[in-house]
């Protein structure tokens, strides 16, 4: 008799999802599925709106990564206008994206994931959150909030309080960097650097000790990786070309343009999830599984291009090999990327081009179809618009980072479950706490944000079901 364990919904991720673990006739785990259970229909909603509104509209999809959609929409708009935007606008958009990645990674590491690392997998789930972290290490909790605040404040200094009001627009940006904003950023940079130093030191000690097993079983499997790279293979987050590498570091495809994404990315659907399953087309589905996001970006690049970040990348490669194949390495990759962001922001402040008043190219609609791409904190984000002669959207396709990690998230959950349910599960067996904690943490490696495709459903208690092959409920747990 086959049975299914369902974890529904998953806590401390954005949106609404559940996990089911499928057992075979002998009670051994055979499959795992990460379900996204609410449909958002956002692409359909965009139809009929002017392309000039897309940056403002898509930025309101959710409060977690508004900047990512803002930039992808603005870049798509640049191409509809057929303009080359001013260098200062490029620099300011880059700074915006770096600040966004910094604050998003800070939230993921300090507040969502570090309670798992620091309080222990077996600790009381009611305490294994940022409040437990505050009790255990208040300085770290406060520093994490300050780092998140640093990134968030840069977003506000550049785009204003209402970042959704589309500071980045087709052709450039609306306002330059003020002297006050520059001064504030420069003043706070040292503290931000000190915080990530603290986090890196702490996390590396944990990797060398209590987290050794998690590195092996939290999604350690071969897959492809995709991300933007610069012209010399450098780490990229805004421009560049797309590169795929395999789990050995072999470059599978390089110099790919976002305009041709249909040639190399397919989008499969499954009846049990509303989230699409993108895959690398030449390898087919599901063999074309690939990962995106901080881990993928570090795996596809040759180097980062700033001294401290390159040093940290070298350290990570020494630990994990030239290619890090464990999803658990997403956590270290986030810290390395925070370093890259801080150094990148500083370099942009020091670039005279950033302070030019020429920040926007103006033009009328010159193309009726365009694809824009940028690296969101969670991975590569594509916006594809087709407009009519009046500039009204008649088709939108968004390929979001969390969707692209969908196959890998499923695989990660399955690997963890097989590790923590090594033998057959009897009909009356309880669902081990250790499994629940780690399966959830496995998903959190990817820091998934489901709001792009689903409605953020608010509080998400954990619901676990063990079901028989015929759908009979054998046991369930809530917390």
């Amino acid at each position: 008799m086959t049975r299914t364990v369902v974890i529904d919904p998953v806590t401390r991720i954005e949106g609404h999802a559940k996990i089911s673990l499928h057992l075979d006739d002998q009670g051994y785990l055979s499959d795992a599925r990460f379900h996204v259970v609410e449909y958002r229909g956002f692409e359909k909603f965009c139809e009929g709106h002017p392309y000039t509104e897309m940056a403002g509209i898509t930025a309101r999809i959710c409060g977690i990564c508004p900047v990512s959609h803002l930039l992808a929409a603005a870049k798509t708009g640049d191409k509809l206008l057929a303009v080359q935007i001013p260098a200062a606008a490029v620099n300011l958009r880059r700074m915006l994206n770096l600040a966004q990645i910094c604050q998003s990674h800070a939230l993921s590491f300090f507040h969502l994931s570090s309670p798992d690392f620091l309080l222990g997998w077996e600790s009381d789930p009611a305490r294994r959150n940022v409040f437990g972290l505050m009790a255990a290490n208040p300085d770290l909790a406060r520093a994490g909030i300050r780092l998140r605040q640093f990134g968030q404040q840069i977003l506000e200094l550049l785009g204003g309080r209402k970042i959704n009001a589309a500071w980045a627009v087709p052709g450039g940006v609306r306002t330059p960097l003020s002297a006050e904003a520059e001064a504030w950023i420069r003043e706070r940079l040292p503290e931000a650097k000190a915080t990530v130093t603290l986090a890196l030191d702490l996390f590396k000690k944990l990797l060398d000790g209590p987290l050794e097993r998690e590195q092996r079983v939290f999604g350690d499997f071969p897959s492809l990786y995709m991300g933007l790279v610069g012209s010399d293979g450098q780490w990229e987050h805004y421009d560049g070309v797309l590169r795929f590498v395999d789990s050995t570091g072999q470059v599978v495809a390089d110099g790919l343009k976002e305009d041709d994404y249909h040639d190399f990315i397919g989008e499969a659907v499954e009846p049990w999830s509303y989230l699409k399953f993108p895959y690398y087309k030449p390898l087919g589905y599901p063999a074309g599984m690939y990962r995106v996001g901080p881990l993928a970006r570090l795996n596809v690049c040759s180097h980062i291009g700033t001294p401290w970040a390159d040093k940290e990348l070298a350290d990570m490669r020494q630990r994990c090999g030239a290619i890090a194949n464990s999803s658990f390495a997403y956590h270290q990759a986030r810290l390395v990327e925070i370093v890259a962001c801080l150094e990148g922001i500083e370099a942009l402040l020091n670039d005279p081009e950033t302070h030019s008043p020429r920040i926007r190219a103006r033009a009328h609609l010159n193309q009726l179809e365009a694809v824009g791409v940028s690296e969101a904190p969670r991975g590569t984000l594509f916006h594809h618009y087709r407009v009519d002669a009046n500039g009204l959207i008649d088709r939108v396709n968004l390929i979001i980072a969390t969707g692209q990690n969908n196959l890998a998230m499923n695989r990660t959950v399955a690997q963890i479950a097989k590790e923590y349910i090594p033998g057959p599960v009897g009909a009356n067996a309880s669902i081990p706490e250790a499994l629940l904690n780690r399966v959830e943490a496995g998903i959190r490696c990817f820091d998934p944000c489901l709001s792009c495709s689903t409605h953020a459903a608010g509080q998400m208690p954990l619901h676990v079901q063990l079901l028989g092959a015929d759908g009979e409920l054998l046991t369930e747990r809530y917390r």
């Binding site: 508004p66 939230l107 009611a126 968030q152």
Partner: protein
């Protein structure tokens, strides 16, 4: 003593869910209080709470047949699990635990009936807006202390 802080939150692309942002915009126009309009409550708001003397959270409320409510928030020490977003009580607890300060807190809840994807408010919410605005003004410009 810190100033008053208003935090309206929600998603203006989900119909009535955007009412918190709408009322935050009104608060900006009619008062000198510090006003935040955000998609959701996140940890970096905790220091702002700690610096405020009193805070008002404004949110949509999925409560059929209700009328707008101005309620005192009394942290109960319970800390449920959370995702990227926090509840007002969690944010107050975070502020208290990290910075040792907790403002007097209220929440203005506005009954919402249409939260599907789309802009603009439902007819039902529009009929509730005048009362919600009255309660907002009452909080911003208090006479006798609010006790409910």
């Amino acid at each position: 003593m810190g100033q008053a802080l208003v935090i309206g939150f929600g998603n203006s692309l989900r119909g009535d869910d955007g009412v918190g942002l709408h009322l935050a915009a009104i608060a900006t126009e009619i008062s000198s209080s510090r006003v935040r309009a955000v998609a959701q409550l996140t940890p970096e708001l905790a220091p702002e709470l700690a610096a405020a003397a009193r805070v008002l959270f404004i949110d949509a409320w999925q409560q059929a047949g209700a009328t707008p409510q101005l309620q005192r928030l009394e942290p109960d020490g319970q800390v449920p699990a959370f995702s990227h977003q926090l509840s007002p009580l969690q944010l107050l607890a975070l502020s208290s635990a990290l910075y040792g300060a907790q403002p007097i807190a209220h929440q203005l809840l506005v009954p919402a009936s249409r939260m599907e994807l789309g802009e603009g408010f439902s007819a039902a919410l529009l009929t509730q807006l005048p009362e919600a605005e009255r309660l907002l003004r009452q909080w911003l410009h208090p006479g006798p202390p609010c006790t409910n």
